[in-house]
Symmetry: C2
């Protein structure tokens, strides 16, 4: 019965949802991750309860918001990762893509990295585990997958690929965060530095002359 109607409703709801997300996006981009539900509702031209009807709670809204950006970022990263170039070039290009993204929209970036936090109202759980930003985890898993299906890591490759994936993503993230805060050098210098590190820089360089040989 009346599936068309339901579809209509659904579509309208989806459109509304998208509008609300856009509004939320604008506010978060302006006020940072501590944007209040009131502010978001006001920006969307409506009031709080509607937001709650659509997204459940703040976490829900933030999750939805985060997923949009995360998806977008992951898409561009995948593009860089899959480009037809040699491995080192792909690594550099991926790093650069990520850094360009966080440079272009630092507010969004910050929001993605510190999403929910402790809701004071209801839950008390505080589960250890699942703390860090979902974006980091997703990037790590994504990279792990690429690593595992492209490189020949020998036995235990699955675990090793994941370790490397999360490790590399973390390296990129922390270095990017630091760089964004202090701007100590150009983006390309940073990219080169990190690539060099990944390419075995630590093992390759010599000790300083006045140190004991290794």
């Amino acid at each position: 019965m009346d599936t068309t109607q339901r579809t209509d409703r659904q579509r309208s709801a989806d459109r509304r949802r998208r509008e609300l997300l856009e509004a939320a996006d604008r506010v978060v981009l302006r006020d940072g991750p501590q944007a209040s539900m009131n502010a978001i509702a006001a920006e969307a031209g409506i009031t709080k309860p509607i937001l709650y009807r659509h997204f459940g709670d703040k976490g829900g809204l933030y999750a939805a918001l985060a997923q949009r950006h995360t998806d977008a970022l992951l898409d561009s990263l995948r593009a860089a990762l899959d480009a037809p170039a040699d491995r080192r070039e792909r690594v550099e290009s991926t790093l650069d893509t990520y850094l360009a993204a966080i440079e272009a929209r630092p507010q969004v970036y910050r929001f993605l990295m510190h999403p929910a936090e402790g809701g004071q109202g209801s839950d008390q759980g505080f589960d250890v585990g699942k703390h860090s930003a979902p974006l980091l985890r997703r990037m790590g898993e994504e990279l792990a997958q690429v690593i595992e299906e492209r490189l020949d890591l020998g036995p235990g490759s699955r675990q090793l690929a994941r370790v490397w994936g999360h490790g590399i993503v973390g390296m990129m993230h922390a270095a990017g965060d630091w760089w964004l805060g202090e701007r100590p050098c150009s983006r390309s210098e940073l990219v080169r530095g990190l690539t060099e590190l990944l390419w075995g820089g630590l093992a390759a360089v010599d000790d300083k002359t006045d140190s004991p040989g290794f």
Copy 2:
């Protein structure tokens, strides 16, 4: 005039401060980073305004609390970093020290990584930059210093050392976070995997046989 008296007061205040910090520590360890000022005050056997007199605001308390743990952790990391062993062993031992620490006290770890967050009451600034946990920054700078004074990086060594320092710390952090959440392998396996990565794993391994040559 009466410097002795002032010193007495100072000492008493310091002692009180330490007591308060210990109480706060207990609560944070129990309730996580969303511990309320009321709860902390109650644990210390006093009431809120005293906390505010001592620490200014929640951020102040959390900063003080964080510094204690950060100092402690940095001390043990320094020990591992300065041990009389070859470079690779030192790297492994440092990674292991860090991971052992976060494994032993995940609540503290989580607290250190997500300290202040948005105070809703007063400030509105939201400065881009200085987001990430101070602990990460301090570890990064510390490691950068060690790298720079021990390794011969050629020209531009200062910048490169910092890039590497923050990058390595980020790698350690993200991998540790992921590992703590999923426990996909033993600590020593993780350490080996990360070390291998740092030792040029990415450059050393081959492509899978069905991939195009690099």
